[in-house]
Structures are given as structure tokens and as C-alpha cells.
């Protein structure tokens, strides 16, 4: 709740500060997304999703830009975003790993998988690596229960992932996103 208040208080202030300055990247992105999806409330989800796809999370700037473009209150935008697990409002790494923690994956070894990832990335579930390359999260059933344990990295799915296989997959992301 305090976060919402903070957002609302900051709203006019930020607008004022930005006046005269060049538009930020995220404002451009929001404008672009609104152009594609339409300037109405029904576009809110695709616009939020579009920002998260590019930026990995919804910054206060992003939410304020969306509110302005769609003519909604910032609190409304934040209220909607905060409802959805995939619409993060805190900074996330370039690659978001979500390990399924629901029952069948639990039975098939999700604990070992999470442990291997935590050790390799030197973070705990919920945290982001220092180099901002990875965020490690858990998720509820990902719809691959016959092939547990499962993890999702961004939009990519990895069924039947042994701890060993997970490390190799992580490696791939490390090399492909660092350059």
C-alpha cells in the first residue's frame, strides 16, 4: 500500500522533472505498445506484458508512462500488475528461471534441481545474480507434470531437467547473453 501512495505522490513530480527532457526509452516503448494494441483499457495486459518482455520488470517510470498513455491512474496500473506473478514490479535479471514446485515436480526432484541452481548461481530462490544475468524463482504447475522436474527460462521450457542438465542449460544462457 505504501508503495502505491509513493507512486501517486511521485507521479506529478516525475512528470514535472521530465518536462523539457528527451523522452526515455521506456516511454517510447510504452507509446509503441499502445500504438500496436490500442489506446483503451483492454490493452493494459498486452502493454504490461510487452514492457516486461523488454525490460524484465515494470519500473515506476514504466507504470507511470502506461497510466498516462492509457489514461488510467497509476494506482490502477500498479494494482493490476501486482496481481500477476509474471508482471514483476521489482528489477529482475536478464534471464528469469522459474522452477515448478507443485506436487508432481516435488515428487520428481524439484528440490535437488533448485539446490543445484542455487549453488551454481550463488543465489537463493527470489534473488538475482550480481551481474544481473539470472533471477531464480519458483512457480506453480507449469503443465509438464508427466516430465518433471521442469523449469521455464524466460519463455523456454525445459522438461525432465536433472541437476546436471540444468547446469549445462545455464551455461548456454551465460555464454549467449554475455557477449
Amino acid at each position: 500500500m505504501t508503495k502505491i501512495k509513493h507512486l501517486i505522490q511521485n507521479f506529478s513530480l516525475q512528470k514535472f522533472k521530465k518536462g523539457g527532457q528527451k523522452m526515455s526509452n521506456v516511454e517510447n516503448l510504452v507509446k509503441e505498445l499502445v500504438k500496436i494494441h490500442g489506446k483503451n483499457r483492454n490493452s493494459l495486459m498486452p502493454v504490461l506484458q510487452g514492457v516486461v518482455k523488454e525490460e524484465k520488470y515494470l519500473s515506476e517510470d514504466a507504470m507511470m508512462a502506461i497510466a498516462k498513455e492509457l489514461d488510467l491512474s497509476t494506482a490502477d496500473v500498479y494494482g493490476t500488475a501486482s496481481f500477476y506473478t509474471f508482471l514483476d514490479t521489482v528489477p529482475r535479471g536478464k534471464n528469469i528461471i522459474r522452477v515448478c514446485k507443485t506436487i508432481t515436480c516435488h515428487m520428481k526432484g524439484k528440490d535437488e534441481l533448485i539446490k543445484a541452481l542455487e549453488d551454481a548461481l550463488k543465489i537463493k530462490v527470489g534473488e538475482t545474480t550480481h551481474d544481473k544475468q539470472f533471477t531464480l524463482l519458483t512457480a506453480n504447475c507449469l503443465g509438464w507434470c508427466h516430465k518433471g522436474p521442469v523449469m521455464l527460462i524466460n519463455d523456454e521450457i525445459y522438461p525432465e531437467t536433472s541437476p546436471q542438465a540444468a547446469l549445462e542449460i545455464i551455461e548456454k544462457y551465460q555464454t549467449s547473453t554475455k557477449k
Binding site: 495486459m45 504490461l48 509474471f86 506436487i103 512457480a139 504447475c141 503443465g143 507434470c145 508427466h146
Partner: protein, 387 residues
């Protein structure tokens, strides 16, 4: 053993028919006749609630107004369910065609697929095939166009009215009912919302005729159903089976010889212990299911299973109504306290009363169904919960 073999069916994934030929066949009939065929087939919704599909279409058709919608519910979030993903992946044109048929029958010009965010990897393929499909439908002079809306990781958005809210750019909080979607759904317009699998069965009924469909299943549960089998089974996967099968036969086919219990219908379904395998029927006359069949053998702690489910509901409750928001938390805390010995075993009775209250006082199916796994696990595995 012959009579122990489950009857496998191949309708949903059958790829030998061109779904657009079925659409042509349907367009030669009147919408009312199409609806009569679906009613006659006895097809009930495959998403969990089991409402007769033909009636849903008829109610939507009967509403006044030019703007109506067909929605395909592809939010598949029930733990243990993964069949819709496979259908979307393998036979997307059959889903689109089922939607076009529904659109023709009820008089809708727009269709939407609400795809859970976890299945975003399907988007490029689906969008490509959809572009092609929309073009082909246009060429048939049918005024119907389908697009996809994505979810963002919220189980509750599978509940139809929460799904509409989400599509309207709002928090996925279920609405009060009535009004039902057939009267006021997406954008407050008459909307017919169906599960992925239901739409493909509707297509197959139009292809084969209602009588062929009725040959399968039982009086109360016509046809077949796609099951998602997971857990302690040598053969996890997706199977299309005739409805109305005894659970005993299912277990003899899919169990590992040491099956202690089967959770029928996912986290929000019922847990059936071994002693009831013989007298349990899978279907609308027994235990209905959206298709999730989770098999547990005797190495599993049913306390852990229940704990997992309650954690799931606590996280996924939209928090809008207090019986569910607080109830889920208290049930979870309650079994933890009993396990730790902080509460006496008699406390289970109090928790059961709470679960029963949630069933009648919660606003939507999520809170209402927590009682199913809770009571069925606690009653059948009381020792495991306490000690």
C-alpha cells in the same frame, strides 16, 4: 484380463480429417441444427465444471445483441493437467475450427484464445497457423476472426469471469454470478467460453454425428476425455479414454503395483484411497475431472501432498473474499500446527468445519473446492496428517 483393458479412443489427436472440411459441412446447416446436434450428443464441458456445451451455445445464441464472443479457455493451470498444451501443440487447427463452428452457431464474429503465460513458447506457432486459418475462414465468407490473449501467471484467471476481467485489463478477480457469461461475459457481452478440449470434441461431433459420440461413455458421461496422468506411474502422459471407467481399471493400467491413492481432478479434486478404487467411477456420475490423474504410491506422505495443495491455494487465491483468503491460510497453518503437536488431533474437526464453510461461503470455484482435497485426504489418511 481382457475386460481389464481400458478403452482407448483417438478422436482429439486424430489428424486424418481436414477440420476445414467439417466447417464446410457445418456451414451447410442452420445454426440451430448445429446446436441441436451438440445438445443431442450430450457433450459436457471438459474444463472441470461439466456444463452441457450445447445448452451453453443455445443460451448465448438466444441473447439479443450483435456483439457476442467465443472464448477458448487455454489457461490450463490445475496442477496435474497438461492435456490442453498437447492439444494446442498438436492439433491447433481443430481448436480454431471448433471455435469457428461455435461462432457460427451462436452468431459471434470474434473469438479469443486465452493462453496461459506459461505456454508463451507456443505463441509463434499458434499465431502463424492462426493467420492462415483466419484467411481461409474469410475465404469461406464466414465473418469470424480469432486472436490470442496471453495470461501472466495466475491460476484464478482460468475461472471464466476472472478470465474476462483479465482480458479487460484488470486484476483477475472473479465476478458475482449471475449474470452468467452467456448473458454478460467479456466486455459485458454474451459470451460462450469453452475449454480447449470441449471445442475439439464439438468439432468431432459435427464430423461424426452425435450418435457416434454417444456410443462412447455412459448415460451420464457421454464420450471420451483426455487424461493427464502423472505421479507414481510407469506410464505418465496423455491418454484419451472412454468416460465412466472404474478407477480400479485405471489403476491396474497406470499404477505401479503399489498405488496408495489417486488424486482425481487436480489439487481442487478428490483424493481416492485404495479401499475405494473398486467403487469409484470416473465421470459425471462419480468423480468428474478436468483430466488430472495424480497417482501416489505408498512411499508418499499424504501430509506432504495436502500441504502442497494448500500452499498452492493460499498463493493462488485472488484474495477477494475472506472465506477463501483467510480460510486457505488457516487450513495450511492448522495442519502444520497439528503436525508439530502445537494443536491436538481433535483440531482436525475444526479445520474440517472451516473447509465446509469455505465450500458454501466462497465467491468462486477456487475457494469452494478447497474442501474437496482437504476433506478427502484428512478423512482417509488421518494418521498421516497427525503423526
Amino acid at each position: 484380463m481382457e475386460n481389464n483393458i481400458l478403452k482407448k479412443v483417438d478422436l482429439i489427436f486424430d489428424n486424418t480429417c481436414d477440420p476445414l472440411v467439417v466447417v464446410d459441412k457445418v456451414l451447410a446447416k442452420s445454426p440451430d441444427d448445429v446446436i441441436l446436434d451438440i445438445i443431442d450428443s450430450g457433450l459436457k464441458g471438459r474444463g472441470g465444471a461439466g456444463f452441457p456445451t450445447g445448452l451453453k451455445w443455445k443460451f448465448t445464441r438466444n441473447e439479443d445483441g450483435d456483439t457476442k464472443y467465443v472464448i477458448c479457455n487455454a489457461d490450463e493451470g490445475e496442477p496435474g493437467t497438461f492435456k490442453d498444451r498437447e492439444i494446442l501443440d498438436k492439433v491447433p487447427e481443430k481448436i480454431f475450427s471448433g471455435m469457428a463452428i461455435a461462432g457460427y452457431a451462436i452468431g459471434a464474429k470474434e473469438g479469443y484464445i486465452y493462453l496461459r503465460g506459461e505456454y508463451n513458447f507456443l505463441l509463434p506457432m499458434l499465431n502463424k497457423k492462426l493467420e492462415d486459418f483466419n484467411r481461409k475462414i474469410k475465404a469461406k465468407n464466414l465473418d469470424f476472426i480469432i486472436s490470442i490473449k496471453s495470461g501472466s501467471g495466475a491460476y484464478i484467471c482460468g475461472e471464466e469471469s476472472a478470465l474476462f476481467e483479465s482480458m479487460e485489463g484488470k486484476r483477475g478477480e472473479p465476478r458475482n454470478k449471475p449474470p452468467y457469461p452467456t448473458v454478460s461475459g467479456y466486455n459485458s457481452k454474451p459470451t460462450s467460453i469453452n475449454n480447449v478440449e470441449t471445442l475439439v470434441y464439438a468439432l468431432m461431433i459435427c464430423k461424426l454425428g452425435p450418435d457416434k459420440f454417444k456410443e462412447l461413455g455412459t448415460k451420464d458421461s457421454r464420450g471420451s476425455k483426455v487424461f493427464s496422468v502423472s505421479g507414481d506411474t510407469p506410464n505418465p502422459g496423455i491418454y484419451e479414454l472412454e468416460l465412466g471407467m472404474p478407477l480400479k481399471e485405471f489403476v491396474s493400467e497406470f499404477g505401479d503395483g503399489d498405488t496408495k491413492a489417486v488424486q482425481v481432478g487436480g489439487a481442487s479434486g478428490h483424493c481416492v484411497p485404495r479401499k475405494h478404487f473398486n467403487d469409484t467411477i470416473i465421470g459425471f456420475e462419480g468423480i468428474p475431472t478436468g483430466g488430472s490423474m495424480m497417482v501416489f504410491n505408498s512411499s508418499r506422505s499424504m501430509y506432504n501432498v495436502l500441504h502442497d495443495y494448500l500452499e498452492f491455494f493460499t498463493e493462488e487465491s485472488c484474495g477477494q473474499c475472506s472465506p477463501c483468503r483467510i480460510g486457505c491460510q488457516q487450513l495450511l497453518k492448522g495442519i502444520e500446527a497439528i503436525k508439530k503437536g502445537e494443536k491436538s488431533p481433535i483440531y482436525i474437526e475444526e479445520l474440517k468445519r472451516l473447509a465446509a464453510t469455505m465450500k458454501i461461503a466462497s465467491k468462486c470455484g477456487l475457494g469452494q473446492s478447497v474442501c474437496n482435497p482437504f476433506t478427502s485426504i484428512v478423512d482417509n489418511f488421518r494418521e498421516e496428517i497427525i503423526y
